[in-house]
Amino acid sequence: MVVDRWPPVYDADELKQVIRDLASSNDISKSFYSRRSSGKPFQGDIIELNTSLPMIWSDGQPAVHGTFQYWLVIGNTCDLHRNHEDVEFTQIVPIISIDSVLVNERYDQNDFLTYAYSRRFYLPSWESELDSSFSFADFLRPVTVHKNAIIDHASIKATMNQHSWLLLHSCLVRFLARDDGRFD
């Protein structure tokens, strides 16, 4: 349950330490999430919503590309909690699970916990039955969703704690604002 307010993070050094502590945690899935199944959604929530991924396809027309069970809420919590008259939509990205067999030959979980990649976001298992797979939120495929679709049709599977949310926040900033190399 998200009950207490999170303490402030005072500066970049503290933020670095918070993220290092998270990455070195022995039980990353326990320290990464808080269990919550009701209430309003927050940025960083993992939701279950069986639906297709809409996008504008290469012909310039709308299409759907695959169906996903789990999504990561990346829309700002402020907008999520505003009245629908003020803000009607938010953003989610699909979560893709990769069979560990495809990964283990070259990398393991510790490699992904470095977050030394920018377009996808590694998510530790939030349910035990997923332990054998590696899950990534795909920042490249954001979807605009009506907030009622989340409230009425999705279930919240996990909520990030403060540290993991700060990590997600940093990764979202890096994804959108990283150096593009044009002045190298």
Binding site: V2, R5, W6, P7, P8, V9, Y10, D11, A12, L15, K16, I19, F42, S52, P54, M55, W57, Q61, P62, A63, V64, H65, G66, N76, T77, C78, D79, L80, H81, I96, I98, L102, V103, R106, Y107, D111, F112, T114, Y115, A116, Y117, S118, R119, R120, F134, F136, D138, Q162, L166, H169, S170, C171, L172, V173, R174, A177, R178, D179
Partner: protein, 117 residues
Amino acid sequence: MHCSTAKKLPMAIPMALAMTMCPDSYASYKEPTFIVRIVNHGATGTSSLSTPILSDLLTGSVYKESPVEELFGKAVNHIKEVGTILPSIDKELEAFVDGLIDQSYAGIPATPLTRVV
């Protein structure tokens, strides 16, 4: 330029984080945060600001430069600051992760949408 503030100030949330953090929602489940309203020749805006800028505003400093130019300059510095929080991109690992994800999409046909909402 006038400014008004509300509530307690977090000390130095990096600007790049603050830029994606809506002050209201941040306040709703974290420490109370702040709202700064800048009024300049009739144009108003509400924004999260980093502490150095904020303290300048609170202490009544008057900018010699254009406020907008000043804000952008400091925002860039703070984005660079966030860049030092996360490790450098490992291009080999990035390519591996991207390849894994792209494989998962391979073979999925795109189905045209025909429904009109």
